[in-house]
């Protein structure tokens, strides 16, 4: 079974809304969970502030 922790951050790019879906018996501390939330937000900011380039089609095998 899993539990879901919804969270969101506001930024100049708009609101980032996400959820941590963890197992009910997870061993994460509150501090670790907060760090995971921050990491998700930091990763998102890094993604949307990276220079965007045109997509290169992938020819699948």
């Amino acid at each position: 079974m899993t539990m879901k922790i919804d969270f969101s951050f506001s930024s100049q790019y708009g609101t980032f809304s996400d959820a941590l879906v963890l197992e009910d018996n997870h061993a994460f501390t509150n501090a670790e969970i907060e760090a995971m939330k921050q990491q998700r937000f930091d990763n998102w900011i890094a993604m949307i502030t990276a220079p965007s380039v045109e997509e290169t089609p992938i020819e699948e095998v």
Binding site: Y13, A19, R40, N43, T49, S52, I58, E60
Partner: protein, 360 residues
Amino acid sequence: MADRYWILGTGTWDSTSTTNWSASSGGAGGASVPTASDNVYFDANSNVLATAFTVTMANSPRVCNDFTASGLDGTMTLAGTSIGLTVSGSLTFQATNFSRTYTGTTTFNATTTGKTVTTNGVGFGSGVIFNGVGGAWALGSALQLTGGSLTLTNGTLDLDGKTLTTGFRFATDTGTKNLTFNGGTLVCQLAGANSFTNPAPTGFTTTAGTGTGTISLTSGSAKTFNGAGSTFNCTLNQGGAGALTITGSNTFSNITNTRKSVSATSILFTAATTSTFADWNASGESTRLLTIGSVTAASHTLSKASGTVSADFLSISRSTATGGAGWYAGANSTDGGNNSGWIFTAPPAPTATGNFLMFF
């Protein structure tokens, strides 16, 4: 429908090898390779002790019904070069001990409702397609495409209050498709002509659901929202420094400019189009004006049926404001010429009579 559990750690998920598949968690190998109707599981018994392991997909596309990575006690990497993954049910990635390196299209093709997509912070590196007639998927967590476009062809994609970020573009394709927000946000990062593109508007609908949904275009370079005349039951947001061009005669619930807290920017409309808004909340700030104009040297039309637009710090040109609402640009806005319908003052304060009546 059968369940298939990965065992023995590192191995290849191809179309023939049964070495790594078991009918039970940690059971004997030799079970058949999963089909599109089988659920696949990667769990604490998928590896040897708690070691890291890699599942390399081959023979595109690999298929399954539900894809579940949960309970992993060693880091699993889902790999494969130019290999696709087609999921006919729901998908769940574990928040920790899971990574994805495969490059190829991920397709969701369920034809029934009630499916979920929970990537738990793991981004897709290539394109993602939702294409299931009658299918419906809700996001269980934010969804990020670090590379590739998201294409909505058939079915209902419910953001369910989460943020969906496309590394390239959001696009529609021929089919019956719906984008539901329920308070969620679609972020389009791509610069250029088709950051959001709607080449197949027939059969495309949007649903607000609960809360306020948003489509935010965030590129620091010029980008285009190609709405193709559809109705967008959400807020369109200018979220980046690059000029936002809106093509087509579209209908929006609202328009905003979150970039105003950082810099000046522009929202440009295609000449001879009519953009209809239920609300208008796009303004600039002092020293950071928001330019409203046309892409070419001809006018566009903005329409709002009733109420009052109360903007400020706009620089407006070639803009016809109409529809019945009072279009107040604000006392700090600039008339750049060739405008009609805009009132370059603040809206009148509520009357004492009005306040008196409201009191009773």
